[in-house]
């Protein structure tokens, strides 16, 4: 019996084999969204836990990789939604090298705060599209939405960020 069929029928060894095959990729995807290695590890385990629980719904002829990425995106989204007001962006969030020195520390903090305060559905697509430069169709597949909706959410995220930054006293042109 094929690995995916064995997994779908509840074989723990098949699940372990799939876990070992895909854990790095799932982790790498999640860490790009949540930007915290510890949380990304926990969410990777949570993702595979959801995968294991939903194994009977998996079609063995389907694409496990895409399915896992979709579930990982949902797990990361749930985390963003629940952590929005509880914690800020991690302290060790990497700053871009060669950042414009004109952007002062205070301004950077304001941009981070504004970004963190975005609703989770906008923050998810904004992180992937604007910071990680992931193609829209990949984001759409992972989030289970259309490419058009991804574009709409990116546009709304940008508009909301601009508004928030203006409210925080930063002059960002409203175009």
């Amino acid at each position: 019996m094929e690995l995916l069929e064995r997994f779908a029928s509840g074989d723990l060894e098949a699940f372990e084999a799939l876990f070992r095959q895909h854990q790095k990729e799932v982790y790498a995807w999640i860490v790009r969204i949540v930007r915290d290695t510890g949380i990304a590890e926990d969410l990777t385990v949570e993702t595979f836990w959801r995968i294991y629980k939903a194994r009977s719904r998996f079609q063995p002829e389907g694409n496990f990789r895409a399915w896992a990425r979709r579930i990982a995106t949902n797990a990361a989204f749930d985390h963003l939604r629940h952590s929005r007001r509880e914690s800020g962006l991690p302290e060790d969030l990497p700053c871009a090298t060669g950042a414009d020195p004109a952007i002062r520390r205070e301004s950077r903090e304001r941009i981070r705060t504004a970004f963190q305060e975005l609703p989770a559905k906008y923050r998810l697509v904004a992180t992937l599209a604007l910071i990680e430069e992931e193609p829209y169709n990949n984001i759409a597949k992972a989030a289970g939405i259309s490419v058009a909706l991804v574009k709409v959410r990116v546009f709304r995220a940008v508009r909301l960020l601009r508004k928030k930054l203006n409210c925080l006293g930063m002059e960002v042109n409203a175009k």
Partner: protein, 77 residues
């Protein structure tokens, strides 16, 4: 300015503050953690939807108040 122009402007601003994740390498095997989670998970509860409970209640009431329907029910089983 176009939507793409607006996005690019914000993208440039954001990227000066938040860099793309550069370290996405998983440094340890998470299987032991996964195994712990599988072992700690409670046995799945038997979940009976409310509709099934309602159906069972209606059937019981019918059998109680109209015992004559029992042979008909058995016939249809």
């Amino acid at each position: 300015m176009s939507r793409e122009g607006n996005n690019k402007e914000m993208k440039d601003l954001l990227k000066q503050v938040i860099a793309p994740a550069s370290d996405t390498e998983l440094r340890r095997d998470l299987w032991p953690q996964m195994l712990r989670k599988l072992e700690e998970a409670p046995a799945p509860e038997l979940h009976v939807p409310w509709f099934d409970w309602a159906l069972a209640a209606i059937l019981s009431a019918v059998l109680l108040f109209f015992p004559g329907s029992i042979p008909a029910l058995l016939y249809h089983l």
